[in-house]
Amino acid sequence: MAYAYLFKYIIIGDTGVGKSCLLLQFTDKRFQPVHDLTIGVEFGARMITIDGKQIKLQIWDTAGQESFRSITRSYYRGAAGALLVYDITRRDTFNHLTTWLEDARQHSNSNMVIMLIGNKSDLESRREVKKEEGEAFAREHGLIFMETSAKTASNVEEAFINTAKEIYEKIQEGVFDINNEANGIKIGPQHPTTNSTLPGSQGGQQAGGGCC
């Protein structure tokens, strides 16, 4: 229940590419073929383990509709990771990636880890965007890339977890300032080594105050 870090994620991309379905598959391990249109933003959370540490992912699943953009942009700030999703069976969703990427880079911190996701990989027969194209786009813009299927759950875990690994590495390298919440990372409640709660938590406060 307690976690070492909390990472804030955003999921962005055109409407209907399967953002909410990816989230549902990741948090609830189920698939819902018909999903209500997301209004503004919805949320999901799940605990994962990286390097033996418990990490809580707090995921903000944004509405893909163009008309919601001005609202959803407000939510980008303070995200440590972003899943940028397109639909491999719809070329237009791939073509819009540049706009999404510019938007994301402009409204969030520069260190945000972005994972490019080509969703609906189960619909191979209807594929319009080759995997190589996705890979090339990711390489060009410095993103991580994966093809997933929210329906079959293929690569869904990996997409969320690999993003977290990348963030975690950046923390280890000191790229992220974990004390700045604008980076989308929060340190979990500190565990006191002493038995009694009061001196312990107060010790934590002192340590926190000392570094400022």
């Binding site: 307690a2 959370a45 939510y75 565990h191 009694s196 001196p199 002192q206």
Partner: protein, 493 residues
Amino acid sequence: MSDSEATAAEGPDVAPKVQDASPASTPDSSLPTTPDIATDVAPTRKARRRPDPKPAAEDEMTPVVEQPAKTANESTVSQGGWGYWGSWGKSILSTATATVATVGQGLTQVIEKAETSLGIPSPTEMSAKVEEEQKQPSDASSEKNKEAEDGSSAVGGAMGMLSSLTSVVQNTGKTVITGSLDALEFIGKKTMDVIAEGDPGFKKTKGLMNRNATLSQVLREAKEREELQTVETESSDSEKKVVAHYGMLFDEFQGLSHLEALEILSRESESKVKSVLTTLSGDELFQLREELDQIKESFSLVDFDDEEVDEKKDADGSELKRELTQALKGLSVSATADKLSKACKSAHSQITDMSPPEKEEAEEKSEEDVKKALSVEEVHAAAIRSLAELTARSIELFHKLAEMILFSNSSTEASNLSQLTVVLCKEVSLLSKKFTSCLTATGSNEKGDVLNPLITGVFLEASNSASYIQDAFQLLMPILEISHIQRRAESTE
């Protein structure tokens, strides 16, 4: 010997033990003060118990043993400005504030405050001693804590961060409970306040809007504290109890996330309104100010009379659904409103299920009765869970409303929203009343000091819930303002 006598008797029994831990203490002079200490709260007691390893300080220390805690009390009391409270209220609240201050600011700060005001040790000596204290008497103090908690063991975990507070309230028992929701709301809010930033200012209806710490921060801190406590109790307590942590549950229902998102929208709208105002001048500015003031006015009128809430009303939550539909007419947030009414409905049906059946019914449903043998802790947990869910869903609703208002730019009457707030607060109040009568019925065989803190806990979280809902409502104000400005601009174009 009743339980309450046991707790009261524990003082003199414990104090000498503590004194033993201190090499510098002179039992003779300090002993007479101990019965006094017993009625106090644990953290404050700890402050007094702190052993002083420096023999030089002995003379100064012993005659004034009573002094430090008093100073701590007084300072926090004056900070909080409780002056106008009735006498019973005052005594409870001052102890409560002291406790809260200890929880929030850490033990040392209280000790420091107390001791610097006495002019005793230098800061370096202090820190050395504090370190020593943290290691040294931890055995004694943790043992001590256990004893203190035994009396209210059922509460300890269940009450989360408020456990020490409620045990104080418990001593004064009935007075507080009949002292109505208002007083508890006061304590509850105060608890949050002091933990958040030690800000003494308190405005009843204005909520947390004008403070530095945002509501979601306050709640997150509370939740984290609860998480910590859970980990600790799980590791130390092998036996699992039914524990309900409001903050954690609130987060589980995504209340925190929705609140955070609502705060983002509110903040952005607020700065947009400000920047629009700076571009205007003269009559234009004057007129817009006037219009905005009208919107603001609808936000300051919210007040609901807790006494009016009728327990008999709205047996299954259908009343709320009707009122919700009424208040939300024209705003496409039906999905969220449905979630809310569902949460409410399930809370009401839980209450019906949990309430011990009436006599005639009891005969008919004898089979089910066996299953229904619920403990008071279970009823309490259900109450806290329902309150947390209802509050989280209410905040989700406000968040969705904010998004829809910004999105559709439709004209939204602030009065509808304030009506909605009143409806929600009344529902919270109604639920808490129903749950507590259910608790009373279930726990008719329980002792007062088991039952009372649970009841207090439900009222406390209910008043907190109402505060959060009202604060979330306040967050909508800048959103209505910017929406108004945008509609205005569209119509002139």
